[in-house]
Symmetry: C2
Subunit: 462 residues, 2 copies
């Protein structure tokens, strides 16, 4: 069980003249990284994600709830958005058989489906409620603050539907709240109404919460090996104790992306796993990287790379033309999966057709791996920076390891960029405008600011 990281194609020697990070530049970043490392690891008390993988009482809480609920439900409906949704979706896609929710209960080994409502589109929620058998449905309501507008609106609708279908008392037994241990509306509802609640530790922010009950509870309910997930994350955390750049994989990932952005103009940073199962892990990474690093600094400057999700080989037929020939403003990080070379044997047929004959006897596992290496080589040959993280296989251990790798890298990158990786002040203004339009108490100032914005200009409308 291991992760490896090959960043040859980020470095000057492997790329055409003028492109790439020099060995000197990488070496000279060792001190900056050591300071970033010290700053992050000194905050173990504040940064709960550093110890989630070894937080035994917290794991026990999710496992006890999952055990108590085992066998009672065919469907889990998770209400959440952002960090409350992206982690559970990524775990389901990576670690359950493909298209889990399309399988029969028998094909699912008796485990429930997992539906995630991560938006307030009325069409989606209506269709979902029309389809679910609520008597066999468990609702997980996930919000760190316990007050997220989208999740609260979903909750009011779903709670009403449950109460109508099952009665108020039974409805409560179909709900588990996942929220802050002390504050917020969900915690108060849990106390007032005796609804089961599990805690997101106060020092764990939404986008760093996948290894808290936010991800662990739904994962346990649908049969994912959560102990292996945490073991993979613990392994990476342990390895990352080293402040030495060349021994710290998440640190090296962070430093390279930071140098590529700030010194080489590579501000768009693609994550491109060559595995369908890691498609949603790339989306989870997008939130982590974008929301943590995209910040206005106190000096008024704006920083933050733009993460871009992709999937190989699929996106070779969509985005790779741009990566190859478009502006030299990108890095691509591949995730390669080892050990598939015997999977998906391609039978020989039409041996005389040039388009088909050469494929017979190869395997899909070989093909997808060859395509990844070919794309990496072609990008490098054209001066496009890229690197490859390799995993032995896509299992719970490696997914936990990958997630912790990116979480640590994000924390380090926050220090390198000189921003707070753990807040999101930029979304406040939009929230306040929405509150004002909804008539929430205390939004008079936002209302005034909203009303003062320029109105739609008929000249610029068609």
């Amino acid at each position: 069980m291991a992760l490896s990281f090959d960043f040859t194609n980020m470095m000057a020697g492997a790329l055409p003249p003028g492109a790439g990070i020099s060995g000197e530049q990488y070496a000279a970043s060792a001190d900056a990284f050591a300071r970033a490392h010290a700053a992050v690891h000194a905050r173990t008390h504040d940064l709960g994600f550093l110890t989630l993988a070894t937080n035994v009482p917290l794991l026990a809480q999710s496992l006890a709830v999952a055990e108590r609920l085992r066998g009672r439900f065919d469907d889990i409906l998770l209400l959440g958005i952002g960090g409350s949704a992206l982690g559970p979706i990524a775990l389901r896609t990576a670690l359950c058989p493909p298209r889990w929710n399309e399988l029969t209960k028998e094909q699912r080994g008796g485990h429930p489906r997992l539906h995630v409502l991560d938006n307030v589109d009325p069409a989606t929620i209506e269709a979902m409620l029309a389809r679910l058998e609520l008597a066999k449905t468990l609702v997980l309501v996930v919000s760190k603050s316990g007050g997220t507008v989208e999740t609260m609106a979903q909750y009011l609708i779903v709670r009403d539907a449950l109460a109508q279908a099952l009665g108020e008392e039974v409805a409560k037994q179909h709900i588990v709240l996942v929220t802050d241990p002390q504050v917020g509306a969900l915690r108060r509802i849990a106390r007032d109404e005796g609804i089961t609640a599990v805690e997101i530790p106060a020092n764990v922010g939404g986008r760093f919460s996948v290894l808290s009950p936010v991800g662990i509870l739904p994962a346990a309910l649908i049969g994912i090996d959560v102990q292996a997930l945490l073991a993979g994350a613990a392994h990476v955390t342990e390895q990352a104790q080293s402040p030495e750049l060349s021994r710290n994989l998440p640190g090296t990932f962070a430093v390279l992306q930071w140098l590529a952005d700030t010194r080489h103009g590579r501000s768009v940073q693609v994550l491109m796993p060559y595995a369908d199962t890691l498609r949603d892990l790339a989306h989870w990474f997008v939130q982590l990287w974008a929301e943590s690093l995209g910040k206005l600094k106190p000096d008024g400057s704006s920083v933050g790379p733009t993460p871009l999700p992709a999937v190989g080989a699929t996106d070779q037929h969509s985005q790779v033309q741009l990566f190859m020939e478009g502006p030299k403003d990108k890095t691509v990080t591949f995730i390669a999966v080892q050990g598939r070379e015997h999977e998906g044997r391609i039978p020989a047929r039409h041996a005389d057709f040039p388009e088909l004959g050469y494929l017979g006897g190869h395997s899909l596992g070989e093909l997808i791996d060859i395509e990844q290496r070919a794309t990496a080589g072609a990008l490098a040959a054209r001066g496009r920076l890229n690197a490859t993280i390799s995993v032995d296989t896509v299992d719970a251990w490696h997914v936990g390891a990958l997630m912790q790798l990116f979480a640590l890298a994000t924390a380090y990158a926050g220090e390198l960029y000189g921003v707070n990786a753990f807040d999101q002040p930029g979304v406040e203004l939009g929230k306040q405008f929405a509150y004002a339009m909804l008539g929430r108490a205390g939004s008079d100032q936002a209302r005034a600011e909203w009303d003062a914005l320029p109105k739609p200009d008929p000249r610029w409308r068609m």
Copy 2:
């Protein structure tokens, strides 16, 4: 039935000083647009996508095949990648009830499911074949060239599985090939073996093919109103006959994005529908915009904006922090849906909780619309360029209209950037490297070039 476009927030007057496109700049682009318009519409003979919406014989071909196959299949398995997959996926997500493939046959009105295999991940294909009842499965093999390596590999595997399950003769009746009318391996297979084939006109490229049988045949099979889809596209094409910038919606979209990129440094261009059903349309747009415009020009310069997919309100909790506070290198184009204000009534409960009380009596339709406008206003207030395309509703007519809007805009943008929007030479090198590793005949030169690339450097490996 209508589309509208409000680009006030792209323009200087609505944004803080220093940001935005000036009225003069927009007006001064009218001539450049008129030339681009003339160049595109002069090529009606070459650019088949311009007339797909009114190509009656082509539509009849798909409808006849769909009619002949009606009722015979529970599952459609589409083998294709890139433009052969993104369009059908976008149509299914936009125009079938949510999570179509999870519904029962009765809930689907008797129509089949649609599965799209758009990768060569052995785990995905193995799981798919293990689950499908092949006796009730129709396989669509979609490749313009008839030789796409990924699709050919899928075809060999699926053809073998069909033959084993049903016998060679019956297997042929479970296959429809969608390909060029004359050239390529799939066309030859159709002729040699008497397998049904429908044509992608020779003058229609993969990413512009959604309104050809590539999208129309699977859409018709799963019960989408393909005539309405084409009518929406025909409407937009008709409107776009005007070479006058201020009367040409796709033209204005193209000109604004081009100006924002080339004059204002806004090189990342986000498409953010506020509707779950349009999520995959944003992915379809990504291919169209990226692969058409991301090009190396003859003078050696690289051009091309980077399209970024998002979904509202969901991505307010993921990417919007970066859009608000990160570098001023982005535009955001929202797609808003009108007329949802009465959908998804939010019941009153916990009226005394500040986090919930204000929501009661509102609707989800109101909420999602308010959030879109609040986000647009907040972005503008912070100098971030954005615009909003509004549709009355998400139905076949409007989806056809949106797709044609973006296809036309892409063609115009190609002219504005001075690139060929209809080729993809940048992916050739990676293909050749893959052929070399697979031992395809004629790839000796690629093999030599591959072997000459720098090897992984042990210093840059961990």
